[in-house]
């Protein structure tokens, strides 16, 4: 009987560890004997230990690759694809927790519950990645979303944080409703969707029923609408254009910086993995491909253009997240093994770049840096941070030979390989479109008229490269004394920056691993 839970022992471990941490926090934070100690760093280190132990166990492999392939009445599936996504998720969670220690101490944000609320959605996302049934998937999405709403609003004294949590709650509830609408099996007074049309929720069964349904002409409005709603629900969740993307920058701006980092990375990993499994395995067809192509293009374009008017440091990164969702969707939209491989490469490199960027932003926030204009003195007072930040921005922009260029190259290569000849050039153009658009509008607004554009000085560039320009070339408008970065963030930055910079020297391990993972998702 005990063996029933072997396949989910990592999730059980993390749930139990979280419960122990919560009890520890509650008991000792209110302990008069210990003088009501602040427990963020204490619980943080123990939480980091739990997540890292699990990630290390997964990464070492330890012969788990074929252990319990399908289990629990075939509700969940474990394969190499699952393990890769879970390892990446656990690394992201560990990176997020390690960002928290000193920044929360500096901001006097003494809420150990925040640390506890990172492993909890991680556990849900681990389930979600391995879900092989619609109901299992939905039951995993909801606890994840609930924890995200709470951590987005974790700074109770901040109106921005409360606003971010409220917006995320509305966005998440709406998208969950749409997602469930596609699968609905409980109400009888609405039209049948996937379950009503097919009687199936398991991905294997859906694959048998839906394979070639568009080709054979056996169309059903219920199936079509169900697939549409499911795709839309997922795209809502990852803030893809045009589904409620406009609230994502507000949510990311209002949330604490480590939360923003977590929200930028973790849901993208879990939802991309899940929708890949559902769509590629269960129900991929021309309809779904067209939806995802459109959303990829729209996300890339809007992510490139919308950041040009931003003046705060976090908002361009939020728009960058939207744009990168579009790039990553490119790989998925192809529907080929190379597409899934490029998706995995893209997510991996995106996760590391985002951890890097937000670790620096978190360190800067400790010195009350909020606006891009405040970065003017960074290169003079803290050149190492400025160089690291610049490298990360160049990687985001896709400038060779950094890791971001490699991921975009492979994504566009996969798109061309599947015949998406329009999508690949759009991706390339949007990678550079920020240069023209970001440089044009401020000149027009400042000096007036299109003719003035030619005479106006080049005050802006890429919104990525604009940050580097602000740091290295512009005269500082405000001289801010940047405090030294703490050891945890320094270590995190050293690892991620090294990877971003040196990845091009030896990319084959990641390429071969992701190829194997992509193959296993098709088996």
């Amino acid at each position: 009987m005990f063996n029933l839970f072997l396949a989910v022992s990592p999730e059980i471990f993390i749930i139990n560890a979280t419960s122990i941490l919560l009890i520890h926090g509650v008991v000792f934070s209110t302990s008069k004997r210990y003088d009501y100690p602040p427990l963020v760093s204490n619980v943080g280190w123990l939480g980091l230990l739990s997540v890292s132990r699990l990630g290390g166990q997964r990464a070492l492999g330890c012969g788990e690759s074929i252990f319990a392939h399908l289990f629990w009445n075939n509700l969940f599936r474990r394969d190499n694809f699952t393990y890769f996504c879970q390892i990446l998720l656990l690394l992201s969670a560990a990176g997020t927790i390690s960002m928290c220690f000193d920044s929360f101490e500096q901001e006097r944000f003494d809420a150990f519950e925040f640390i506890v609320l990172i492993p909890l959605p991680t556990r849900s996302m681990l389930f979600m990645i391995s879900a092989h049934d619609s109901i299992a998937m939905y039951l995993a999405i909801e606890p994840q979303s609930l924890c995200f709403y709470v951590i987005a609003a974790s700074k109770r004294k901040s109106e921005f944080s409360t606003e971010a949590g409220s917006k995320y709650l509305i966005l998440g509830a709406f998208s969950s409703g749409i997602l469930l609408f596609g699968y609905d099996r409980t109400t009888t007074d609405i039209c049948s969707m996937i379950y009503g049309s097919t009687g199936a929720t398991h991905f294997d069964q859906l694959a048998k029923i839906l394979t070639g349904y568009e080709i054979t002409g056996a169309r059903s409005s219920g199936i079509f609408m169900g697939i549409l709603f499911i795709a839309v629900g997922f795209l809502f969740k990852i803030t893809a254009v045009p589904f409620l993307y406009m609230w994502a920058p507000d949510i990311y701006e209002g949330s604490p910086t480590p939360v923003t980092a977590f929200l930028s990375i973790a849901p993208k990993i879990s939802i991309s993995a899940n929708i890949s499994r559902l769509s590629i395995y269960g129900s991929y067809g021309a309809t779904l491909q067209q939806i995802f192509f459109f959303c990829s293009i729209a996300s890339m374009i809007l992510g490139a253009l919308a950041a040009m008017a931003q003046t705060k440091v976090k908002r361009p990164l939020a728009h960058s997240s939207i744009g990168h969702v579009g790039y990553i969707r490119t790989g998925f939209s192809c529907g080929t093994i190379e597409g899934i491989q490029s998706l995995l490469i893209g997510i991996f490199i995106y996760a590391l770049m985002t951890i890097d960027a937000f670790a620096i932003v978190s360190a800067l926030r400790q010195t009350r840096v909020k606006y891009i204009a405040d970065l003017g003195a960074l290169a003079k007072t803290n050149p190492i941070s400025a160089i690291t930040f610049s490298i990360t921005m160049f990687s985001y922009a896709g400038i060779p030979p950094l890791a971001g260029f490699c991921s975009k190259f492979y994504l566009f290569f996969a798109a061309l390989g599947c015949g998406a000849y329009f999508l690949a050039p759009v991706g390339v153009v949007t990678s550079v479109i920020g240069c023209w658009a970001a440089g044009r509008f401020p000149r027009v607004s400042q000096f007036g008229g299109p003719k003035a554009v030619l005479r106006a000085p080049d005050t802006t560039l890429f919104y990525y490269i604009r940050l580097a320009k602000r740091m290295f070339f512009d005269t500082p408008r405000t001289w801010i004394l940047y405090e030294p970065m703490d050891r945890n963030k320094s270590l995190l930055l050293a690892m991620t920056s090294s990877f971003i910079t040196l990845f091009f020297l030896y990319p084959s391990p990641l390429f071969s691993v992701t190829h194997q993972m992509a193959l296993s998702s098709y088996l």
Binding site: F2, N3, L4, L6, A7, S9, I12, F13, N16, A17, I20, L21, H24, V27, F28, Y34, D35, P37, P38, L39, S41, N42, G44, W45, L46, L49, S50, R53, L54, Q57, C62, G63, E64, I66, F67, A68, H69, L70, F71, W72, N73, N74
Partner: protein
């Protein structure tokens, strides 16, 4: 409802027990399993102690870390031991032990 844990893929190694009971799995812990258990517990206790210095909670934090480490180490060791018995991990030692046991009986 089928709650069988065995995989749809066949085990690579000889199956000694398809669904081993708890006592058998724990009894099958080898030196490496105990080493993993002790290492993970030890590291967790150390991390707990060190993280508890700053807030002045060395003892309680060490206990909390120890609990997490004991649980994690035990689950990890159990998973490996059960995997060897179910034929998913290399199990030469188990095969020779149970073959000898069968001959002796």
């Amino acid at each position: 409802m089928n709650t069988d844990i065995t995989a749809s893929a066949k085990p690579e190694y000889p199956v000694i027990d398809r669904n081993p009971p708890f006592t058998k799995v724990v009894g099958n812990f080898n030196t490496l399993d105990y080493l993993r258990f002790v290492t993970i517990s030890g590291v967790s206790v150390t991390v707990g102690y060190l993280s508890g210095i700053k807030p002045g909670l060395k003892g309680p934090s060490m206990v909390t870390g120890g609990l997490i480490g004991l649980m994690g180490g035990f689950m990890y060791a159990y998973q490996n031991s059960a995997g060897r018995l179910m034929g998913f991990f290399p199990n030469d030692g188990e095969v020779s032990h149970y073959q000898k046991h069968r001959f002796n009986n």
